[in-house]
Symmetry: C2
Subunit: 434 residues, 2 copies
């Protein structure tokens, strides 16, 4: 179901010089967790299925940089357009591509509604995009607004306070904004050079030249613009935070394994949002597909087979197909339960080599695999946990212990799972911290 019954495309001006940031790199190209800011903003648009084309307007000297970003992060719906010397001129260039079909790569369909968003506002959600698009369809123009954080004042010519504005009457105009394409394009065509050189606000142009009073839509705090260095810090922390917020525990349908999954769920749920599902990995489970599309970046897969290579490969394939690892690294923790009595603790050297090789391979796909072996010998009442992360990951981890006098609530798992819990937590956090 398409929530929007209109052709919608987006223009992202990304031509700014980032002078307020105080660095040499324009802010839209600054890396957050190694990925440029503009790529997050593009991805935020690409996630929305009803946005057809995404025009990214960059200054001439950054076209090659932008091309390599599109390639590296697999952006599919992006057209790169050469910007002008001001923000308005860049947006106008972006709009022209639709009107004049001048793009050399392919023909772009003129949209009914065009979204204008900033490359430096990476956290825009589908919800607010939908709201401004629907409002633009009805009113011709719409834009997100936020309450003012500071009082706004006007200064006199002597550098002294002339008057302060009543804060409740005013709002900060933010992005995204959306317009009926014909309205905003017509407004730009009528613009004076003064508008193009000194103005910044598209809503103002729609009002001035097309008498269109934009509908104002209350946005969330996430919409703020990365302006100063502190905003880069904040954006990076928000990304790290969201990465470690959720974990999905996947088990097959055998009782012992499901039980372990349940206990892990209980023990982890104080720290993160946990979703536990029992599935047969051999079938293409729709529940799992939903989770993949729900932006979860941590997976824990419990099995009791000896290195269930096929199942793991399948999981990796599904993850890859889901495009989840395109945006952020995905952590995949393989927990192998061994509850038989006669197998020795140590993992065979051959198996270890195999797992390590596998982990190295999938790391290239931005999936970080960790292995964990849990063995329970009923006769000795001894628990072992062996973590193998001599895999491709920076964090080193090796843990094993014996405990003679366990008073386990559940004969097999229970208490010691808090150690697994810690392991899981550490692994999920490890690559966020770097």
């Amino acid at each position: 179901m398409e929530p929007v019954s209109a052709a919608v495309s987006a223009v992202l001006p990304a031509g700014g010089s980032g002078e307020r940031l105080g660095g040499a790199t324009p802010k839209q190209f600054c890396g957050l967790q190694g990925r440029p800011l503009v790529s997050y903003a593009v991805r935020a648009m690409e996630r929305v299925s009803w946005i057809s084309d995404i025009i990214v307007v960059v200054s001439p000297e950054n076209i090659e940089t932008m091309k390599s970003i599109v390639e590296k992060y697999g952006h599919k719906r992006v057209t790169i357009v050469k910007g002008g010397i001001t923000r308005h001129r860049s947006i106008f260039n972006g709009l022209k591509v639709f009107a004049e079909n001048q793009s050399s790569n392919r023909l772009l369909q003129k949209p009914e509604v065009v979204i204008i968003h900033d490359a430096v506002r990476p956290f825009v959600e589908e919800d607010i995009l939908l709201k401004v698009v629907m409002a633009a369809k009805e009113h011709g123009a719409a834009g997100a607004i936020r309450p003012l954080v500071s009082t706004v004042i006007a200064s006199g010519e002597d550098g002294c306070l002339d008057h302060s504005l009543e804060r409740a009457r005013y709002r900060a105009s933010e992005m995204p904004q959306a317009f009926l394409f014909d309205i905003i394009y017509q407004a730009y065509q009528q613009c004076t050079d003064h508008d193009l050189d000194y103005g910044t606000e598209c809503l103002h142009l729609a009002l001035k030249y097309c008498k269109t009073n934009a509908k104002l839509v209350e946005g969330t705090a996430d919409l703020w613009k990365v302006t100063y260095k502190r905003d880069l810090y904040a954006a990076e922390s928000i990304i790290k935070d969201s990465l470690s917020q959720q974990i999905c525990i996947i088990t097959d349908v055998k009782e012992a394994v499901v039980q372990a999954g349940f206990l892990l769920h209980e023990s982890l749920k104080n720290q993160v949002k946990v979703e536990a599902i029992s599935i047969s990995l051999s079938k293409n489970d729709s529940h799992l597909q939903n989770i993949f599309s729900g932006e979860c970046y941590n997976f824990l897969c419990i099995n009791d087979k000896e290195y269930a290579t096929e199942e793991i490969q399948q999981l990796v394939d599904m993850l890859e197909k889901s495009n989840v690892p395109l945006l952020y690294p995905v952590v995949l923790i393989l927990v192998h339960l061994n509850i038989s009595e006669n197998i020795s603790f140590s993992i065979g050297l051959e198996e270890l080599t195999k797992i390590k090789k596998f982990a190295r391979e999938v790391k290239k796909k931005n999936i970080l695999v960790y292995g964990l072996l849990i063995q329970y010998k009923v006769t000795e009442r001894t628990w072992h946990i062996g973590g193998d992360t001599n895999t491709p990951i920076k964090a080193n981890f090796c843990l094993s212990w014996r405990q003679k006098d366990l008073s386990l609530q559940h004969p097999l798992y229970s208490q010691k799972l808090s150690k697994v819990n810690n392991f899981v937590w550490e692994m999920c956090s490890a690559n966020r911290k770097t």
Copy 2:
């Protein structure tokens, strides 16, 4: 020399509920690196020698919390005052303390100029405080301003855009602000209940009731107000950043030691701002005193004596007296050079115990001591570096190696100092990361 020839005090309203932050803890009490935000703001005021009294106004339920903060972080010039239900009422309560001498603790002198600053703007510098105070002396009122980040718009009753303001004509009104005490107090005395309940801007009151047009002073980007959760992230990153930006290398005046200090300086200077000084610690060196007052938090002390306990104790005493460890933890790395041929590598168990005990003691004073032993045996061309951080710090570190074929530029130190460099870097970073 006092830069301000007037009695100056400050009022910090800290009564907010922090609802925009979305958390249970009001933002001024949120911890950054374990220390509440309000304590940073207070400390920013306390660093300025010409500010006499600092009134912190908190809501009744937070008075005990604030008291414990004052005690824990050793704030000396703070008077806690009970706030009102709005920001203006809280500021008024703060001002009344000076006018009515109603504080039960002690008599507070009525200042000529009063600074009003927010508890949630922790990075205010002496420079801008001085500017607003001087401007207030001349004009009666003054406040910091910043350019607007977003366009400000007025909405009509239908929720649509009415008009947008010309961005260049307007400014965001920020803190700090300063007033001749009599002016702002008189303004508050004339305030209506509506002003006290719905207004937020002191400059506006001075204009409305005392016809005083405040002088507007361009502030730096640091002055921003911690409003949303992302601002807490940003503030924490800024603090961490500033902590690891500078290191001071202290050596005694012996040639070999000075030489090592010089090479370390060369090798570290790509990563941090390094200041290297050679002093005789037995004298109270004024250069060192300057560095202590210049907000350096990392010290590396090189010596070639066997555990120069006295010198180290002296350094710790100086650090303590300087109040530097009051705000942030201080890292003190002791590097002991051993260039004699006949002493074995290992540090004696007795010495180790002694150093560990010492480190445990000074940790209570917020000084984190790390030890590093470097031994060079000319005959074997062998380097050893032994790091003892089984001291009070979380990070574990132990490093030692041999290298047979060193092609040292300098016979004694040079290349291998890059390892020391790494050690230093790790230690300085370790407690910032936690």
